[in-house]
Amino acid sequence: MAEAPILTVEDVHLRFGGVHAVAGAGFHVARGSVTALIGPNGAGKTTLFNVVTGFVRAERGRVSYDGAPVTRRPPHAIAARGMVRTFQLTKTLAALTVLENMLIAAPRHPGERLTTVLVRPRAWRRREREARARALELLDDFGLGGTAGDYAGTLSGGQRKLLELARALMIEPRLLLLDEPMAGVNPSLGRRLLEHMERLRAEQGVTFLFIEHDMEVVMNHSDRVIVMAEGQVIADDEPHAVRADPRVIDAYLGARRQEPPA
């Protein structure tokens, strides 16, 4: 790697009530890359996301983003620095409109400061106008322009996924951690999401790390694949190498043997 990686995870350990959810995971993510994080259910992938983005505190380990340690930083501080995550079960704010969902993500908004609103009621109008314009632009990009005034709770599942991604982009992130972005999304919408990802990577150099179960997406659209099983990283390589890795096959087969019939 020529440049320093944008994300470094080292030796993270976390137990949840007796289960060793993450047991010494570590990897790098290169700038501008698209990296997939895969593994059987219960491998610790979402837990690792939670640790990396500050939602859960690990017992041991270090995380650094863009050269600076973020191990014990609160989640909002990490997101504000440009490492933004989405959630497996979308967290669209149902009782707010689609536009409002977008606007709350706008960074550096003086209208969100109590003192400003009380003392200088006009000082934030300009930022609000800018944020609105940007929000509507992004919504249009994702084909949600017509829903701006609707309550987010009325959107379909696929639309919520798009909204969550569009909303994350309001922050101008440099590293996006997507938790199963394709789950429950129909193929055409899924293709659109991938197109957006490619465009963001190509035009703005945004780095992606995503958890996925759809192997077609993983194999064909990522530069690198990290495989987790039972809380540890068991493979970290290019897609075709990972596919042939016996340890990876073992982990998936082993997991399938233990899983109850679907």
Binding site: H76, K91, A95, E112, R113
Partner: protein, 318 residues
Amino acid sequence: MTTLAVSLSAFGRPEFWIGVGILVAIYAILTLGLQLNIGYTGIYNFGQVGFMAVGAYAMAVLVVEAGWSFWASLPAATLIAVAFAVLLGLPTLRLRTHYFAIATIAFAEIVRYVIQNADGLTGGSQGVLGFEIAWQTIALSLQADLGLAPELALVPLLIVAWVTLAVLFAVLLALGRSPWGRMLRAVREDEDAVRALGKNAYAYKLQSFAVAGAVGAVSGYLLALYLSFLSPDAFLASVTFISFAMLIVGGLGSFPGVVVGAFIVQVVLEGTRYLQLPLTDHQVASLRYILIGLVLILVMALRPQGILGRRQEMVLRG
């Protein structure tokens, strides 16, 4: 066979409506703070009467014990109430909703107990007198200027109370519609989503709580002037729950609803005074509380969004 008779003549007397009007304004102000916390931010502040008490007593003690001027004591007492809100909120706002609710109830009861037992400072159950002299001079001169008859002596306070309500209403409405207010609603919906977008959810909750504390204190000053005499019995936990009844009748999430709810509930409560049933005074008082209890149960069961609340904005989740 007893017949239900209502002494309608009472409803015709101006003092009745002036008294109702003042109490409606006081309760509406108190409930505005509650609306900001419950309806907008989703934090279950069950201790709002505590801030009313802190404000009222801080003002009274500053004036009567420390010799401050009434006007100077108002901003100082408000700051004290805000300080209490911050001190209480800092450790408790990170707790789950139920625990926070219990902590706030405990806070209000602790305040009341301390007021009751720290006789040296607060006069205990004997109460505090004499803080409203500065106000009374103004009230009396206003009364003379307006040429008001003696029965209308409380009209100046009524005017001040409603002007205060109007001002605070406008301020809170503006806050609610601002991006800050939008963040409060987002926090109510999902704190983790807010954090994932780079915003400090905890700070917004704390600010919302502090504003409610300040507004509660203001309602305390008006109550003090209305009663002319402060005692810890004016700040029982039931005050918070009457305020909740007003909140839900008017509708969660609606500031205008607060005024509507305050008016309706207060008229019903005051109206029971004038029922001519063969009941003792105590029974009438008990009846009022039974009514409040029924309002809480029935509104939540049958029409949780109240009169002006919107179903979509309803805080239904746990």
